[in-house]
């Protein structure tokens, strides 16, 4: 390859910019999101505050779902509404009338203290009367505040049933002073209603939703505790253990056949490479058509008189047959790509090198063992990494052959968590697990090969 000499201008960066932006947007960012989904619960805890305002200090954090004792309530101007649905609100009215001292009073009173007597056409309150308080000990007077909340100064007091004009309406959110129910020693703090669920008695409740995220292993624990996790992992590893050695041997044979440059070699290469472009789902169905009750295999076995009547290969009682069919399907589908990698590796070995070995007395299998295999080592390494990573993703073949229940694999569980159970976090935890296994196996292959070559003198 001829490469232009180093240039100071930005042309190459401009050329790769679209690809980088695209991959960042649709590869790196989702990858990061996936990681976050698996280990980060974005509404895990609710901070509670010293005062019922968002700018006051946090005094404690209560985890999502935590039981609460409600100590007090207060209304506060509505904090920015982020589409919260279940908030508890309260209206305050700005009223003007005559106070208990006979002076004119103008200020704010909670809707709980005012009975609206008249409204305009749009339903806005215009005038009302102060509600009487029930009970002997109750204060017969109602405080009028300077601002629409309890904490502001009292500007005057109204007699019960005093008529007032309503000049302004404010909608406030209720805040609660809460303390964790199971831990009375914990400091109490204020939290707005939208994050809480208040029980009927008005004295207890629970944290409905947190506002602060928290790293958590909860999703990973749920994945590990899932009853399908063990079987899925075991089956995935079993399929790999059976498949990869078989695949390597078959791919090597195919590559050697192509490399022998027999007549029609390019035709054979085309046929051998056919499965590379094939959909895993289609191949799953293809092997289903062979192994199903009235499929090809039974028809042939029956025709040869080996069995008498169809044998059910793909049932819950014959999971070994299902796994066998999956391995066979994957062997059929994914060996070709290993073959292409190996053929490319063989083509990189000069003819004279093999001829030299032959001339110096190496028979065919000796040439394979002493010359081709050692020189194919990098290709084999790449093929192994690729195949192992892909083997962790076996998915559609499994569904096509087993329905996804009887025999399950990791990718299928990720799909099930997302699709059937609607649990993005656990689904992402599975995805993350697959990613970690892939990276670990790649590192393992790279390491083991390097370690071996370090032993030899260079």
């Amino acid at each position: 390859m001829r490469v232009r000499a180093w240039r100071r201008h930005m042309v190459p960066y401009l050329l790769i910019a679209p690809a980088i932006v695209y991959l960042a947007l649709f590869f790196a960012y989702p990858m990061y999101e996936g990681l976050v989904l698996a280990v980060y619960d974005e509404d895990a805890v609710l901070p509670v505050r010293a005062e019922p305002t968002l700018d006051s200090a946090e005094v404690a954090e209560i985890p999502q779902g935590g039981a609460l004792l409600i100590l007090d309530r207060q209304s506060q101007a509505m904090i920015d509404d982020d589409g919260a649905t279940d908030l508890l609100t309260e209206q305050w009215f700005r009223v003007s009338g005559t106070g208990d001292t006979g002076a004119a009073v103008d200020g704010w009173v909670s809707e709980a203290r005012i009975r609206v007597r008249s409204e305009d056409a749009a339903g806005n309150p215009l005038a009302g009367t102060v509600r009487p308080r029930l009970g002997q000990s109750a204060d017969p007077l109602t405080d009028v505040h300077a601002e629409p909340n309890d904490r502001s100064g009292v500007v005057g007091r109204l007699e019960q049933r005093a008529p007032v004009e309503i000049t302004e309406v404010a909608v406030l959110e209720v805040w609660f002073l809460v303390r964790p129910a199971d831990d009375p020693g914990e400091a109490a703090g204020w939290a707005p209603s939208r994050y809480l669920q208040v029980f009927d008695d008005g004295e207890r409740g629970r944290v409905h939703r947190g506002t602060a995220g928290e790293f958590t292993t909860a999703f990973i624990e749920r994945m590990v505790d899932d009853r399908f996790f063990g079987p899925a992992l075991r089956t995935t590893l079993l399929i790999m253990a059976l498949l990869i050695p078989l695949q390597l041997v078959l791919a090597l044979v195919m590559a050697l056949v192509i490399h022998a440059r027999i007549r029609l070699s390019s035709g054979f290469l085309y046929v051998f490479a056919l499965p590379i472009g094939m959909s895993d789902l289609a191949v799953g169905i293809l092997f289903f058509s062979i192994f199903t009750g009235n499929g090809l295999l039974n028809s042939v076995l029956d025709g040869l008189g080996i069995i008498d009547g169809p044998f059910a290969f793909l049932t819950a009682e014959t999971t070994n047959w299902i796994i066998f069919a999956i391995v066979l399907a994957e062997l059929w589908r994914a060996t070709s790509i290993v073959m292409v990698i190996l053929v490319a590796g063989l083509q990189a070995i000069p003819d004279e090198t093999l001829e030299a070995a032959e001339l110096f007395g190496a028979g065919y299998w000796q040439r394979v063992r002493h010359i081709m295999l050692p020189l194919l080592r990098p290709s084999i390494q790449v093929a192994l990494i690729l195949r192992t990573i892909l083997a962790f993703q076996v998915f559609a073949v499994v569904i096509a052959l087993s329905g996804g229940d009887v025999v399950t694999v990791l990718a299928n569980e990720s799909f099930r968590q997302y699709y059937d159970l609607r649990n993005d976090n656990v689904a992402s935890a599975y995805a993350l697990f697959i990613l970690l296994l892939s990276i670990a196996s790649a590192v393992f292959y790279l390491r083991s090969v390097r370690a071996e070559s370090e032993v030899r003198p260079t």
Partner: protein, 364 residues
Amino acid sequence: MAEIRLEHVTKSFGDKVAVHDASLTIADREFLVLLGPSGCGKTTLLRAIAGLGMADSGRIAIGGRDVTYLPPGRRQISMVFQSYAIFPHMTVRDNIGFGLLMNKVDKAEISRRVNSAAELLHIEDLLDRRPSAMSGGQRQRVAVARALAMEAKVLLMDEPLSNLDALLRLEMRAELKRLLADVEATTVYVTHDQIEALSMGDRVAVMRDGEIQQCDAPNTVYESPSNRFVGSFIGNPPMNFLDGTIRRSNGGVVAAVAHHEFSPAAEVRPLIEGLRGDRVTLGIRAENMETLTDPGPDTVPARVEVVEPLGAQNLLTVQVGGRLMKVSTHPTLPVAVGDGLHIRFPADQIRWIDPATDKVLYTR
């Protein structure tokens, strides 16, 4: 005892005949060079001897054993490849010992032979290194050592020096010649480089279009080519060829070339008289003509067209009766383009060629 005998060996690739009816006997311990332009079939013939490309027909016998269709590993031969074909994943020691290991030679003997081959090539200190970091010259030595360690009766070499740069090639050529003189093997050496061929071979077989044109000692091939092709292929500059007409006059025969008559030497005369047509071609090497500033009794006038000083000699392109030819002169002879010269053709240096067959009529 490893005489190599080729009988009517023919090999084609599809429609293309690479080697046609080659027959040749290479004596035990002889050093034979197969020389020819690229595509002449010399490598194909070597590979047929090696067994790397089986002949279509004919017979190849080594030491009296018919090996025509024997796999290469069973022919008891050894070879140095053009690209050296060093096994890149093995140390030099394993490379040299590979053939012995494959032939189940015991360990002590392998180690002895590997060491002595390495010593011979002065690569003892490379034995435990990998070829990847080695220079072309070092690899070449490994390839030769690997071939020699086999101690085979037949040693084949396929353009072993062609991948070296010019200086190294010169050095290696001499060293190989010294080395192979001590090796008791029949050697077949393929090259397209005539200097290599002439300087190294006991005999040189010149090939063209799949056929062996001539197989003789280097001097003979040079002095006395068997046909026009050999004369033109060997030697730098190639032999000059002048087309002439035969004139038969009372009791004698002469060839007329550009108003000048050449009389054949006595031993050639009957052969020319026997020619059927009246055309003949004269061949003469550039260094075999005498260049004179003054006309003599049997000189031909010529005009200098190009002067190429080459150091030890000047190479002139001169025009003789409308034909161009190359003449070498001593650098002290003062000539310039456009000068007139007089050239004398010694009768014993003229090769007479039948234009119908391109064969030289008389060879010593």
